[in-house]
């Protein structure tokens, strides 16, 4: 009597061979599916990018008079010289990535796409842009050229004194 009950409950819990193998099969298919997704994700992400270097050589400082704003449209950066020194701003609007333009008659940087406005120091003044224009790391190279790293953002108002 007792033995019979035990056998039944064991049979309920025990994995039959058929069930075991079908679960094993489905499980390995699941693993293969995840692997396939990872495979495609890796394949679609290029390892080598043929994009311009983030470091820009802007030439000698004498090219930039005091109180001037120069747009380097190819690199998407501003090279600005003021009394305090030299600094560089990213010229790409923080809203949706359009190239902004310096408006000397208004003294502001304006985005042609959706009307955002920034001060000469990159401070957001108006428009849909969520953030100010970031300041970029600038330094003088050994042969006295101004260098800008487009991929390195620094806190605002850190002027490069020359």
């Amino acid at each position: 009597m007792t033995t019979a009950t035990t056998t039944i409950s064991e049979a309920d819990q025990e994995l039959s061979r058929r069930r075991f193998f079908s679960q094993l099969g489905l499980g390995s298919l699941g693993v293969a599916a995840v692997g396939t997704l990872a495979f495609y994700y890796r394949y679609l992400s290029p390892n080598v990018l043929f994009e311009a270097s983030p470091i820009v050589n802007a030439g000698i400082a004498e090219n930039y008079p005091v109180d001037s704003v120069t747009l380097d449209a190819t690199s998407g950066i501003y090279l600005i010289r003021v009394q305090e020194g030299f600094f560089s701003l990213k010229a790409v609007c923080t809203h949706l990535g359009c190239l902004t333009a310096w408006k000397p008659e208004l003294g502001v940087i304006a985005c042609p796409c959706h009307g955002s406005r920034f001060s000469r120091e990159g401070q957001k003044l108006a428009g849909p842009a969520p953030k100010s224009l970031p300041w970029l790391k600038t330094w003088l190279s050994d042969d006295a050229n101004l260098m800008v790293d487009r991929s390195a953002e620094i806190p605002a108002l850190q002027f490069l004194r020359i």
Partner: protein, 262 residues
Amino acid sequence: MANGIDTLIGKAEKTRVWRSIFRSGAGQSTLHRALAIQQNVFLHLFPTKVRRRMISLGATWYLGILTLGTFLLLLITGVLLMLYYHPSVPQAYADVKDLKYAVTSGLFLRNLHRWSAHAMVFLAFAHMFRVFYRGAYRPPREFNWVVGVVLLLFTLLLSYTGYLLPWDQLAFWAITVGSNISAAVPVVGNKFHFLLLGGNQVNANALLRFYVLHCAILPLTAVLFLVVHFWRIRKDGGLYVRKSEPHDQDEPKAASGAGEKQ
């Protein structure tokens, strides 16, 4: 004249070649007509019997068939444009200029493609407004509405990916702005942006990816959903015709008579 053609078709239907292609023969019985549908690879997915009213193009104010028409026009003109267009940075813009100024009828085909694309977006929206305000989305057609929303999405994605291909300033900035919108998706946004462009900026990889999406992946997937859309029309009881529509009230006999004639 018409009689002559009828006799000619009648004779052709009796030949061995005709019978090898259309096995069912040309009888007028219900069986013959059912077999004609069932034994045709293009039609066999559909029910063998359907009321004419249910698939009458006028039921969607012709907006459905017009959207399909523009889609077919886009397929044909698109394939023709592919024969002159290279999706590479040095060539893309020049190829579009070539199509405009140097290729015979190139300007016509390109403009046909462009205006059909605009028309298709407009017609798809108009079609959906008609379906919505007439209540044709209600059960049992609710799933076909969902398929229709997916098709609208594909229409817009096809428009968007095609936008980059001329590789001019408008294209470049439109895709820069549009792809930055996709980067705003929480968590995966930046990864998705990178995968979509194949890089960090709109460049050679982005042009090629948009080309493949525009010419292969998106149209093929859209055709798949189109097939489901047309199949569901018949499976869901045909196109929706509102009972209170004037022609239904005024001529109930004519309407049912049209159905029986099938």
